[in-house]
Subunit: 583 residues, 2 copies
Amino acid sequence: MYRTHTCGELRAEHIGQTITLAGWVQRVRDLGAMSFIDLRDRYGITQLLIDENTPKDATEILEQLGREFVIQATGTVRERSNKNKNIATGDIEIEISGLKVLSPSAVPPFTIQDDTDGGDELRMKYRYLDLRRNAVRKNLELRAQMAHSVRTYLTENGFIETETPVLIKSTPEGARDFVVPSRMNPGEFYALPQSPQIFKQLLMVAGFDKYFQIVKCFRDEDLRADRQPEFTQIDCEMSFVEQEDVLNTFEGLTKYTFKNVLNVEVDNFPRMPYSTAMEKYGSDKPDIRFEMLLHDITDLSQGKGFSIFDSAEYIGAISAKGCAEYSRKQIDELTDWVKRPQIGAKGLVYVKYNADGSFKSSVDKFYSAEDLKTWAETLGAEPGDLILVLSGDKAKTTDALGTLRLEMGNRLGLRKKGTYQPLWVVDFPLLEWDEESKRFFAMHHPFTSPKPEDIDLLDTDPGKVRANAYDLVINGVEIGGGSVRIFDSELQAKMFDVLGFTPEQAKAQFGFLMNAFKYGAPPHAGIAFGFDRLVSMFAGLDSIRDVIAFPKNNSGRDVMNDSPAPIEKEQLDELYLQLKKLN
Amino acid sequence: MYRTHTCGELRAEHIGQTITLAGWVQRVRDLGAMSFIDLRDRYGITQLLIDENTPKDATEILEQLGREFVIQATGTVRERSNKNKNIATGDIEIEISGLKVLSPSAVPPFTIQDDTDGGDELRMKYRYLDLRRNAVRKNLELRAQMAHSVRTYLTENGFIETETPVLIKSTPEGARDFVVPSRMNPGEFYALPQSPQIFKQLLMVAGFDKYFQIVKCFRDEDLRADRQPEFTQIDCEMSFVEQEDVLNTFEGLTKYTFKNVLNVEVDNFPRMPYSTAMEKYGSDKPDIRFEMLLHDITDLSQGKGFSIFDSAEYIGAISAKGCAEYSRKQIDELTDWVKRPQIGAKGLVYVKYNADGSFKSSVDKFYSAEDLKTWAETLGAEPGDLILVLSGDKAKTTDALGTLRLEMGNRLGLRKKGTYQPLWVVDFPLLEWDEESKRFFAMHHPFTSPKPEDIDLLDTDPGKVRANAYDLVINGVEIGGGSVRIFDSELQAKMFDVLGFTPEQAKAQFGFLMNAFKYGAPPHAGIAFGFDRLVSMFAGLDSIRDVIAFPKNNSGRDVMNDSPAPIEKEQLDELYLQLKKLN
């Protein structure tokens, strides 16, 4: 037996007991007459005491110890003279009677502390040491707790967790698949699933009624900061439901998880049409923790001789509370900020609504105080506020203004961590026009149902058709999305037609799903949450990387075990493959 | 709203209520003056009634209906005159006021009934219809229930479920890896994990203390009846534990799951050394639901002039209760059975211990009744029993005799379904000699710890070294196995040496694990259960295929969606790959 207790377990009530602990040496403090070892494991830290009463062989072992040695210590629990209120075991210490090194340690490449001196790259290379740090391990414990909470809620609500295959069929539509050559079927490949979409719809055809799965998905995309080639979804599907049934169920799941894991009550979840989100927040994932809405002032500001505005499709503004005092330098800096390529605005017009009720703007030449007052009224601005105006192409300008809104929210401290404001964005467009290929793409995916009242528009004005599609957004982060599915094979065929598939192409790619629909498909709808992102939100982190035990870097590499890696020629031969010469 | 209730929900207490149901038409019975529809969903079957009071439009729809149509029915719950005790809703029926077809169905290729007329191949091609059958869906519901039960137990016992990567590094040791070409790293490949072995050991180095995961694993092997290229494990690892700690924990898990899911109490789990299992049961996974032990009668039966026995390394026997009455024909048939290539015995010697106390054997020429009596005494045989004897090479003969024992157990009805007899087989050999490559292989894997008292034998007689390795066996089925791991980098280096790795090869393949062990590795041990097999045992099935939603066939194909499949040349180009010409 290696231990009688963990390092987080002993309390005053254990005083006098003889116990054995095992763990890692966090640090050793030598005070001359006595020495202390902080012994650490997953559960906490316990102080070990070595003094003149300690047997000599234990004292000798003390001298060999370094940070991160794994040791086993036996001794008596006693009251500390100097209690430590910061740790749960702070009332006691262990007077050592026996000490043993279970496993020595080389000097670690960085300190195993919340505030480590290790850089990102070094920590990834030695991820198994990085994971020893409390802060990192806590994120993974949180992840496990959340997964179990989600599973408990969905299981109790009648969902059947069903594993769908990882080795599936490649479909060129959508993002790029990872493929897996089949040795038993030479020249043929499996693909790894980007999502279990088709399988979960087949489970509905199969009468499973309510399906879920916490499942790994894969996308071979060029990776941005917050993307990983493998990621985890909470994937769900329900039969005989309408949109509101799905929304209510997953509202329940979200509330339950917040309450159960963070002990946070989240409010009801407003529904906001996509069009409102775009017009009022300049984003399909609005952060509604603060107002500062976008206002269209096109009509109010054209025809006054300011040619930039007069030629603009759209002029929009936000009002930043209490920012009228911004200096010239601050305004210049904001102007530079909106002109960065990521935002792409041509310039920034400001209007200071001074505390004394006067106006000072960068367009005073064209607009009277009267004119500016109408802007202020439209925006609900008050003396002391700063109005910021962007103009140009409507889509790009609302987008830029939405980003500026978030930036001003940050600067004003309106995006408070620990406050959670969820909402459902609904009524997404069904289709997106792609200028390059001159065709429509499905905004969500090809199985998403149009709103019944918009079906006629499929023939006349497909771009106007709204979908029964929805996203859950919390604090400006898209947590998940889904849709009501098409369950009628004729409507599905029409949808493929609008998307430019020939019947043959549609059949080759999705034939078995359309075939399944011929045998009595129930109405069904579903949703998927990005689990990595949900966990990182719960953990208060900006990146998903720290909630993944062994993440990959931006080149898709695991720097710890140096993979991917070349494979043996025999392996390639068995797969009937050869490498092309690289340039 | 598609339904107010499910098809399994309505009882006598609902009589008089107006309700709406939705589901699949199981069958329509036309009795002239009235018709009945059996409406089915996941939750049950409810009888719908159409008679002279039914509105005409509903009656008209009735005429279009066929099996597996999806319909919605509104009506009033009323008491059945003819109650059906076989179904939970058998007290009531629905007098229909409205009927609607949600989705028509073509005639299904086989009947959706427990006793279907569909063959295996057809059912796999239309798996989404096969899954509609209660018997099949129940297996998947059982699977989900078991997974949740396992997760609850392990979570409550302090295990952290941690997802390990699916895209990992290929290691040539062990079974064949599936590989995944990396587009971002041309010429390089990921592998899919055969198990998360290395990652879970790294999590122990990281101080996670108790890890588990229900996880998909992959092996590119030629498939036998009960193998799938992707399969699911309950994978676990614990720190600061010895073998008995792991055994007790997973005994607890097994008992909990049996109790919680099947309401079955399983007894304590005996520990049996591998050597005993081989000698007494001729198997490393003994079915201990019945005795009929193997007995070594070599010493008793040599030197009596029977040259086949005299030249045999081993002579072993079992005694089959009450089988002395076996006819000549039955004995001949058994003899043919043991001579089949799968068993490979050269012949079968029998001794009938007749009810009157006399003996009749196939070797009466060489052995007196006195001789045969000593055999019977050794075997504990009684008048009326049949003694069956095999001889030859010891390993092959015990194996054949073990198989014969199981066959006799089947014939005598001693292997009762619904009875569960678990045991731990312990003290496996550490190494296995491979005659072909003239080297030792790790029987479990290269990280398995030898028994401390056997470590010296590593230098002198490696084949004799026993491992701290263990298997859980229930009813003759290996449910899982694991081992105490090596956590000392020197012992690990020695182990690689015994396995014939050069230090360079060991470093190239397992360098990052050995490196990790330099920074304070805790003593640790683990185990993995085959989840598919555990579920199939709980379901009372012989194959794992029916507890997998979308299994592959013996060529690794999904016949439903016809994968694997060729991919586009563009996809290959992006991966810097080309196909070799097939012969």
